[in-house]
């Protein structure tokens, strides 16, 4: 008899089995592969629903566990956490995942790597579900890395394109930086507390009596992981580039699930963060800054997917900010609604992109509303939800966060409000420019027509969710039964509603008359526009740091300068490592006698130490 | 120890050393003489018979002639090594002779100059040095034929050294000693080893031919190919030393063969099968030893004038593909036999 506990494992391993079957047996059979993959995720969704209901009814769900590692001093159990947090997350991941799987059927039709795509997708689902269900840090880290690998595979899916391969690599490398901080944090926590288990740690952590420094270090390192995965400043650079992947991938990984994993993880280890107020503050400000910066960059973007990508960054910043303020429930709430409407937006964009034969510049679109009514309608819903317009879900979740800020941190509130205004503006801009008015480029947008049912059906489903998900604050109540809305009167809420609407209005004003390009905005913002268009030059700054200074100067100055410039001048760890590598290679110059001398001196050094 | 005892000890040692030198210097020329006579006899002609009584003074005349010749050191040679080489050929043979059990004892005096414990090892250690002389001679002469001779000699000596060692291992296993005197005593008590270890004796004999660079293994000199090999550039006294060295080595080889396989100074019946108790038996032992050595020497000479020289690859093939496995086989057989006998 399968209990709910067994079902947990079934949810997790069904996608893995599907992925394995596809990789090993059905690579040449695209339909069978897709069926396997979709079957697995739909099954997962159904079971998740069952679990959700069980959790809602207060039934304890205990997944069978096995001792995975036993080192004597330390025991690691392979177990699953099924609580309200993970039950909700399961539902989001499998639900959004299922719609996107179906959508991919249409989007990827005819692609040479159709089967491979579904294989990778299933692998990703497996890894993501692993993160959600992880019961200890090690388990989480393993799936954390697996998610990285599978997203690397998906971003670089069209590896024939150099930019795609490059983007995949960038995502991977940037994530590694965050992950190593994460790993260090995990090891630190584990070694200090003697266990990696979340439940045990949560109980034990406050009682260990650690110094403030250790607490801050642990929390900070763990936060590093979230910074990488949830693309917070300064490791945010990979996410926009990751849009090189197929659009369903962007929707699934870079909007709904994977990037949210960082936020989910932070919520999971709330007890750890709360122990260090300094780090909480840092988290809040990191999130706030990311939100504002990304939103302002999005204002000037022309590529529809990039606009959505920066929007995602911005919303992730919101969630992280909420976590930093201790409002994890609100963060999860926003995560859930965001998953729905952002996936919806991405899929809508995908629908447009198919219709326009892979044209992504919004200033070449226009007038699509009439030709693609379903897509337009759903996109509109998504836009309004993202903007936070009542009574759509975004309004409730965003307001929950804003209200929490109002209680705790006014400067951040201002920041968040500005962001909200910008959000309204850029979304309206995209919507108006892409869908309304006349076709700006007849060649591109003239012959567009509505996508098939397999594409639009998911859109409609997600649109429904985007509308209803926030009603009655069901989700936060589910997460935390004692949750109650901060009551600040309807005037405040009206104010919050006014801000995005202002954004909408400004956009309508600027672009409503069928602007051919962005000249108006460019004139209006002046040099700021250039700055934003170039994403604050962060990428260039990194490039500059790594390439120009190092490469250029090193070419000029050999010898002593070499040490100064590479070793000290730039001061980067990378420079130091490169320099050390250069030194080592000078040692390994091939001269046998020098090898001998080196060895002898080394031995003598050791012996002098030993024989002291 | 009393002073006079020490002095007497030293005097005995002095006498023995002198005896060795005298005997070597006396016998070696007559070995040459013997070689010429046997050669003549085999070739059915008359050997040297003019100088002195039956030509017996011939070697001395030859020696005198050699000493009086002009000593030429060519310009292109490496001088130090060129001069060093002949000495290095001659000295090891002389040193080895000091270890030979010429007889049991003459009164209170042992007939062995240096009765060192593991004497056999010393013989080998010292004997290994004769190669240096030849190699150096070949190299320092700095010209083609000597060089080839030197290289051949080195290869040959190294190759056959292995077989000698292996063939003797069986002997050691049986006699349980490395001491030459003890080996002879063992044979005196248990019969000659040549009957018990015929294969070892055979191998040892062949290897000795190679080690002494004698025909059919005289490649380092190989008159027809290398003119005269490593000693081409030598003349006068230095050539004489090579000459002397070759025959001295031959003598040492013969003595070793006698000592190890043919019962040394013993004869298989009383009173010659035990160390001498009276002086005349001691003297007889010496005589027996010398006689046996002479027989083996005759064998050496006889072979030289009857068996043709091998080809060089045949020499190496013989050494590594025939003698080497045979030696190993011999050890195996000996081990099995000794093991069956219940651990000798």
């Amino acid at each position: 008899m399968l209990t709910n506990g067994h079902l947990v494992w079934l949810i997790l391993f069904a996608p893995l089995l599907a992925a394995g079957a596809i990789m090993l047996f059905t690579r040449r059979l695209p339909r069978v592969s897709a069926a396997l993959s979709i079957g697995a995720v739909v099954l997962g969704f159904a079971l998740s629903l069952k679990l959700f209901v069980a959790v809602l009814q207060g039934q304890p769900v205990v997944a069978p566990s096995v001792v995975w590692l036993d080192l004597g001093v330390l025991q690691l159990t392979w177990a699953a956490t099924v609580d309200r947090l993970s039950a909700l997350m399961l539902l989001v991941v499998t639900g959004v995942g299922a719609t996107i799987h179906v959508y991919s059927l249409g989007y990827m039709r005819g692609d040479a790597g159709f089967a491979r795509f579904f294989g990778c997708l299933s692998l990703f689902m497996f890894s993501m579900l692993g993160i959600v269900l992880a019961a200890n840090f090690i388990q989480m880290f393993i799936f954390w890395e697996l998610v990285g690998v599978s997203s690397y595979l998906l971003i670089g899916f069209w590896f024939e394109r150099p930019s795609a391969a490059e983007a995949g690599k960038k995502a991977f490398n940037v994530n590694r930086i965050g992950d190593f901080g994460f790993l260090l944090g995990i090891l630190l926590v584990g070694s200090v507390a003697g266990t990696f288990n979340f439940a045990e740690l949560a109980a034990k952590w406050p009682t260990l009596g650690l110094s403030a420094g250790t607490l801050a270090l642990a929390a900070g390192l763990i936060f590093c992981g979230a910074v990488g995965k949830s693309a917070q400043f300064p490791l945010h650079v990979w996410l926009p580039d990751a849009m090189e992947g197929p659009t369903p991938v962007s929707a699934l990984i870079h909007a709904a699930t994977m990037v949210a994993a960082g936020v989910y993880m932070l919520c999971r280890v709330e007890w750890l963060l709360v122990a260090s107020p300094e780090i909480m503050n840092l988290i809040a400000w990191t999130g706030g800054l990311t939100a504002l910066m990304a939103a302002s960059i999005a204002v000037t973007q022309r590529d529809i997917k990039r606009i959505l990508a920066y929007s995602t960054l911005s919303q992730l910043g919101y969630m992280v900010m909420a976590v930093g303020l201790g409002a994890t429930t609100e963060a999860m709430f926003h995560l859930t609604t965001h998953a729905f409407f952002k996936a919806l937006l991405f899929l809508g964009a995908g629908s447009v992109i198919i219709a326009l034969h892979h044209e992504q510049d919004i200033f070449k679109m226009g007038g699509l509303a009439r030709k693609m009514p379903v897509t337009f309608a759903t996109f509109l819903i998504g836009t309004l939800a993202l903007g936070g317009v009542w009574p759509l879900s975004g309004f409730y979740s965003k307001d929950a966060i804003l209200l929490a800020e109002m209680d705790k941190n006014l400067p951040l509130l201002v920041l968040a409000l500005v962001t909200a205004g910008l959000t309204g503006f850029y979304m309206a801009r995209a919507l108006i420019v892409a869908f309304l008015g006349q076709a700006r480029d007849e060649k591109v947008a003239g012959h567009a027509h509505e996508s098939p049912l397999v594409v639009t059906l998911p859109l409609v489903l997600l649109a429904v969710l985007a509308v209803v998900a926030g009603w009655h604050d069901e989700i936060p109540h589910f997460l935390k039964p004692e949750f109650h809305e901060h009551d600040h009167g309807s005037l405040v809420l009206l104010g919050f509603l006014a801000i995005p609407l202002t954004g909408f209005a400004v956009a309508a004003l600027l672009y409503g008359r069928g602007a051919k390009d962005d000249a108006v905005l460019r004139r209006l913002l002046g040099p700021l526009y250039t700055l934003l268009e170039n994403k604050f030059y962060v990428d260039e700054f990194y490039l500059f740091l790594v390439d120009r200074v190092q490469g250029g100067l090193a070419a000029v100055c050999e010898g002593v300068d070499f040490i100064v410039v590479r070793g000290l001048g730039v001061g980067g760890v990378s420079g130091l490592a490169q320099f050390a590598g250069w030194c080592v290679r000078q040692l390994q110059g091939g001269y046998l006698r020098f090898y001998l001398l080196f060895t002898i001196l080394g031995i003598a050094a050791v012996l002098i130490w030993v024989g002291r | 120890m009393h002073l006079d005892a020490v002095i007497w000890e030293w005097i005995f040692v002095g006498i023995r050393i002198l005896a060795i030198f005298v005997i070597t210097f006396a016998i070696v020329p007559y070995t040459v003489m013997a070689e010429r006579w046997v050669c003549a006899w085999i070739q059915d002609r008359i050997g040297p018979n003019r100088t002195g009584w039956f030509g017996l003074m011939q070697p001395w005349a030859d020696a005198l002639k050699l000493f009086l010749k002009e000593d030429i050191i060519p310009n292109h040679v490496h001088k130090v090594y060129f001069v060093l080489a002949p000495t290095l050929v001659f000295l090891p043979a002389l040193l080895t002779m000091a270890l030979m059990p010429w007889g049991s004892n003459l009164g209170p005096m042992s007939c062995v100059l240096a009765d060192i414990g593991p004497g056999m090892l010393v013989v080998f250690a010292v004997g290994a040095f004769s190669v240096y002389g030849i190699v150096l001679a070949g190299w320092s002469s700095n010209s083609k034929f000597p060089f080839l001779g030197g290289v051949r000699s080195a290869a040959q000596l190294i190759s056959y050294e292995v077989c000698i060692g292996l063939s003797l291992v069986a002997i050691f296993m049986q006699t349980q000693t490395l001491n030459l005197t003890q080996t002879v005593l063992y044979q005196a008590a248990n019969g000659w080893l040549v009957w018990q270890q015929p294969l070892a004796a055979f191998l040892f004999l062949i290897c000795m031919f190679a080690e002494t660079n004698r025909a059919p293994f005289d490649f380092p000199e190989a008159e027809q190919e290398l003119v005269s090999g490593y000693n081409i550039e030598y003349s006068s006294l230095k050539f004489g030393l090579f000459f002397l060295g070759e025959y001295a080595n031959m003598m040492v080889a013969s003595m070793l063969l006698v000592t190890l396989f043919f019962g040394g100074w013993s004869l298989p019946f009383a009173p010659f099968n035990a160390p001498a108790l009276v002086w005349w038996v001691g003297a007889a032992h010496v005589a027996i030893f010398v006689a046996k050595t002479a027989c083996i020497l005759f064998l050496f000479i006889w072979v030289r004038w009857t068996v043709p020289r091998l080809r060089y690859d045949q020499l190496m093939g013989l050494g590594w593909k025939v003698l080497f496995p045979l030696a190993l086989l011999n050890i195996l057989i000996t081990a099995i036999v000794l093991g069956l006998r219940g651990g000798a």
């Binding site: 290679r585 091939g590 046998l592 006698r593 001998l596 001398l597 | -």
Partner: protein, 102 residues
């Protein structure tokens, strides 16, 4: 002057070892490098024998015996490699062996 004892032998052994090291660093000729290595092994042997003598245990000399045998094998291979190299490069200067580096 004190009587010769263990420490003297050890000092000689150390000096021989140092000479071996000096030889392998000083000389470019591969053969000389090998000779230096032989000196090292012999220095070790001397120390072993001296410790064995003065400590009263046989193991030192046993190990020395093995080391001598092993040294022979080592030299044989080393010389074979040198000969093979010489066939290709007509040189046994170790400083010229620099195709592997960096």
């Amino acid at each position: 002057m004190m009587h010769v004892g263990l420490i003297h032998y050890l000092a000689v052994s150390g000096a021989l070892f140092a000479l071996g090291l000096a030889c392998i660093v000083l000389r470019r000729n591969a053969l000389l490098v090998f000779m230096g290595l032989e000196m090292n092994l012999n220095a070790a042997n001397l120390a072993l024998v001296a410790f064995s003598r003065y400590g009263g245990h046989a193991e030192g000399q046993v190990l020395a015996t093995f080391i001598i045998a092993i040294a022979a094998a080592e030299v044989a291979i080393g010389l074979a490699i040198i000969v093979a190299l010489f066939r290709q490069r007509s040189s046994m200067v170790t400083d010229l062996l620099r195709s592997l580096k960096g």
